[in-house]
């Protein structure tokens, strides 16, 4: 199952210039594509377009073609798309339903909306909570959690919907290292189970860990694309305003200090 974007461009309503231009992208089963780029590069916009929220909910004008398993999704309503593509945002508090008294009910909100059978809702909810290690929060009021746990609850809410494709817009922006690790593990596990994931992130360390392919956006266009190990080590990354992963920075610093690159690679592998 694949989401394909062919020559996609997008302009927000009232904007004088497009935010995305000529985007070609294939997101297939079990693949994690990392999306990097400086602020205003179009990462969030691409997430909205790939999930179908733009232009359905956001408005604006779209060009090009988006297909899901070869079928044009142009006429699909959002509630139909939401059963196939899940999207998570940066700000956890706005992702909460506001009608759930407990974290358990919050996570169950999505499958309940989809009319999934009650026992299945319960099973999915526990599974999603367990997979992120937050089953201990199940009884808490989601509105009273701090940013990190709230983001994990929001992601658990997405997982409970069991989408085949997942779009995550900076899911770890408000998480501490432990929370970031849980999200990275969840992404890896979902990909291993066959889900396809598009994850926009400023934290290139996370992308280095979970993404097989990395795309770097600049001014709405794809500036770099390729296997994660190559793109994240590309010297143009920094010029484009994206921080290199810590391992790459360390390696560069060591080589600059005269350490033999082959020995360093061996040491890092060892």
């Amino acid at each position: 199952m694949t989401i394909s974007l062919e020559g996609v461009g997008y302009r927000y309503a009232g904007a004088t210039r497009p935010s995305l231009l000529e985007i070609d992208l294939d997101l297939a089963d079990g693949v994690v594509i990392g999306l990097a780029g400086p602020s205003e590069a179009g990462k969030t916009t691409l997430c909205l377009v790939a999930s179908g929220l733009a232009p359905r909910t956001v408005g604006g004008q779209i060009r090009g073609r988006i297909t899901l398993d070869g079928e044009d999704i142009d006429a699909w309503p959002m509630h139909r798309l939401s059963q196939r593509i899940g999207i998570g945002f940066q700000n956890p508090s706005t992702q909460l339903s506001q009608v759930a008294a407990t974290v358990f009910e919050e996570v169950a909100f999505g499958p309940m909306n989809l009319g999934v059978a009650r026992d299945e809702v319960v099973a999915r909810t526990w599974a999603a909570l367990d997979s992120l290690g937050i089953d201990g929060l199940a009884e808490r009021d989601p509105q009273r959690l701090s940013g990190g746990p709230q983001q994990l609850v929001a992601i658990a809410g997405l997982l409970a919907m069991r989408p085949e494709h997942l779009v995550l817009d900076e899911p770890t922006a408000q998480l501490d290292p432990a929370g970031t690790r849980l999200v990275a593990e969840a992404i890896a596990r979902l990909a291993a189970d066959g889900a396809s994931i598009l994850v926009a992130e400023q934290k290139t360390d996370l992308l280095a860990e979970v993404a097989s392919t990395v795309i770097v956006l600049a001014e709405g266009r794809i500036a770099l694309r390729g296997p994660a190990s190559q793109v994240l080590a590309d010297p143009r990354l920094v010029e484009l305003g994206v921080a290199e992963p810590a391992a790459i920075r360390l390696r560069r610093a060591a080589v600059a200090a005269g350490v033999d690159d082959d020995r360093l690679k061996g040491a890092l592998r060892g």
């Binding site: 992702q95 506001q98 009608v99 367990d130």
Partner: protein, 276 residues
Amino acid sequence: MAGRDRLTDPPPGADRGVPDFVGRPGPSAYHRLNPLTKATLATVTAIAAVVLGGLIGPIVLVTAAVIVPAVVGRVLGRLIRTALLLALPIAVSAFLVNLFFFPGAETVLLRVGPITATAEGLGFALEILVRILAISGAVTLFYLTTRPADLVVDLERRGVSPRVGFVANASVQTVPAMVERAAQITAAQRARGMDTEGSIWRRIRGVVPIVGPVILGSIAEVEERTMALEARGFTRPGRRTLLWSPPDSGLESLARWALLAALLALIVGRVTGIWA
């Protein structure tokens, strides 16, 4: 997709079922009433207090329909504090306007410079005050004893669109969210040297740079919330799955209809003049 089966297979622990805390009964007999019963009582009390008029009627009504349930629900202290806070601004202004500017009043009680407090104005001001407190008390009692999520679920069970419950619930929750946002923006502006203390004029000037970000931020949040709800299938047509619903009984249903019938009788009585 190869992994779907593994994803849909219940993982270890998934047979735990709906946890006890989902829809846990409230701490008192009043809390445990069906949310619609409490909503009906609050609505009937608020409207009846206005229709009844006078002083004695609304006071008896408030005692029976607000104070007694608040004692049963063990929320009397919080009810008084919240209801007074809620009603204070409008109650004080309504009281003063009627006390000093009641049209056609002749019995002077007190002169303060150019304005005069009258006995007729005092009587009417007290009536208005009792009505405002009755409305504020009835609404506060409902929110102190009912989780908004319970009302949404109960309405949904009765076939009301979840959107109606969501809008009602979100409207209530918007107020504390805006207050919190205003506090954060005030702290940020003060950290950057804005003076929000001192004379009234200074305070008013200090409000201006706070109002804009609060309103614009709230509007931006609405868009994000809408997107998140759409992405979670909220707009899907058809019935949602409910994990639980608040219990209801024939007796409560009868009580709701009796309350509505009594309110209707009261209104008819007042309109036709049977109830003077």
